[in-house]
Symmetry: C2
Subunit: 273 residues, 2 copies
């Protein structure tokens, strides 16, 4: 039986979604339809949300599951009336936190909050712009400013990882594509030498690389298995010889690649998420 | 007094961080040092984590706060021994969910899970590549494939919003910069006409726009208050005349801009977060 899960918030709903999806992932046998209702910040919107939830419960023949992070008490009371199992994230955890910290939370005093500061907005935009400006070895003169420089062969995952590092953590990440010529020289390209301590390598299973490259340029030398095996062999030897830390992107999500890089390099996030 | 908060996970730690930060944001009076310990997936790593937590508790003179999403029972037992208030995300909510869904969770049976599927990995990479390829009006022939096309004046927030939509939701978002010439014509540029239903406008407070543009090109006509006021006047008139939905990016985080666009357009996420 398919169940319906709602993520409800007076803000973006990202916390409710993230936690809710982590919990639902523990129930592999059940298929969930997932619906996010962000910005439920008025009585009227809350009543509409309840009507939707009740309709879904009725048509599926089972109560919905509701994950919510609403702060306002009046709005919460309305959501509570829905035909649903309510996973009330704030209610569950704020009481023990208040007891430990010996202060009341904004939630308890009924005050909504915003965790978005203009400083972190700007830091994120700066980091995203840095990643875009310094993508694919486009320029190297800003490397002094970089927190990290990802290296790897074409299509090993450098660009999305740089963007995720920027977006999620506010890290300034440049990337530089290692070419056959770089690897034939058996050393780190000159423009990277003075920033060696910032280098982090990506590698990937050569069969996977060939499949990805074939989507872009089918049947090219660039996408051939032979070429991919050759490049990956060379690049991994380079990493080992030059003691550049590296990891494989194969079968890993962008989040996982990025958080592993953060952990291995000891980089600290510059944004509060 | 400063308190130390740990986000601990056998995976990326993103769920623990997201939830933990949302909860901590409710305690504005307290300053927290935040430390993420991802990939705590062995007894040895768990013991090291406990040593760190105990040291932090001792030096700050108060127990640490630990938010964790570890599934393995042996590892959890070790973390439980730390001198900390433990906010055990899975333990709190999985029991009521199991009761409602009438199945055991992977957590209860002690099996770790991975919520990352290769399909959603590829959908995300595709969407990020689409955003990069279709940034800043670089090409318009792929607009048939776009889920949404953001329009707005230069530096109104189009690029980071497109990248966030791609990264977080797997949405294919193109963007097109509206220039003075476009606006002088008093209509939607020809290349966008056939995709009118996909257009979504961004606007921004002209003073804020001038400040942002000044960082890029100080004292230029482009960054002048007069120019910014003029462009924003024109672009908002265009949106209204052409009935293009729009919102202001001023004082909003990228998450908020993106989730509001999702809500207003009714676009559904293509990725499980």
């Amino acid at each position: 039986m398919k169940r319906t899960a709602y993520f409800i918030s007076d803000g973006t709903g990202i916390t409710a979604e993230t936690l809710g999806n982590s919990l639902l992932a523990q129930f592999e046998a059940i298929e969930f339809e997932r619906i996010t209702l962000p910005y439920i910040d008025s009585i009227e919107k809350a009543e509409k949300a309840v009507a939707k939830i009740n309709l879904a419960a009725e048509s599926s023949g089972a109560p919905a599951i509701v994950f919510d992070t609403i702060v306002d008490k009046k709005i919460r009371t309305i959501i509570d009336s829905a035909n649903a199992l309510k996973v009330d994230i704030f209610a569950a955890f704020l009481a023990p936190l208040e007891a430990e910290l010996k202060v009341e939370s904004s939630y308890s005093v009924g005050k909504s909050h915003s965790s978005t500061t203009s400083t972190s907005y700007l830091a994120r935009i700066d980091a995203v712009n840095f990643a875009l400006d310094n993508d694919d070895g486009a320029r190297t003169r800003q490397y002094a400013e970089a927190d990290i420089i990802l290296v790897g062969v074409s299509r090993s995952g450098k660009t999305p990882t740089c963007l995720y590092l920027a977006m999620q953590f506010g890290i300034k990440a440049a990337n530089y594509p290692l070419t056959e010529e770089d690897m034939a020289d058996l050393k780190v390209p000159a423009s990277l030498q003075q920033h060696r301590h910032k280098l982090f390598g990506l590698t990937i299973d050569p069969d996977r690389l060939a499949a990805i490259r074939n989507e872009r340029r089918a049947n090219s030398r660039y996408a051939s298995l032979k070429q991919c095996y050759h490049e990956i062999d060379e690049v991994e030897m380079l990493y080992q010889r030059e003691q550049i830390p590296f990891l494989s992107t194969t079968d890993r999500s962008i989040e996982e690649i990025s958080t592993r890089i953060m952990a291995e390099t000891g980089l600290q996030r510059r944004l509060q998420s």
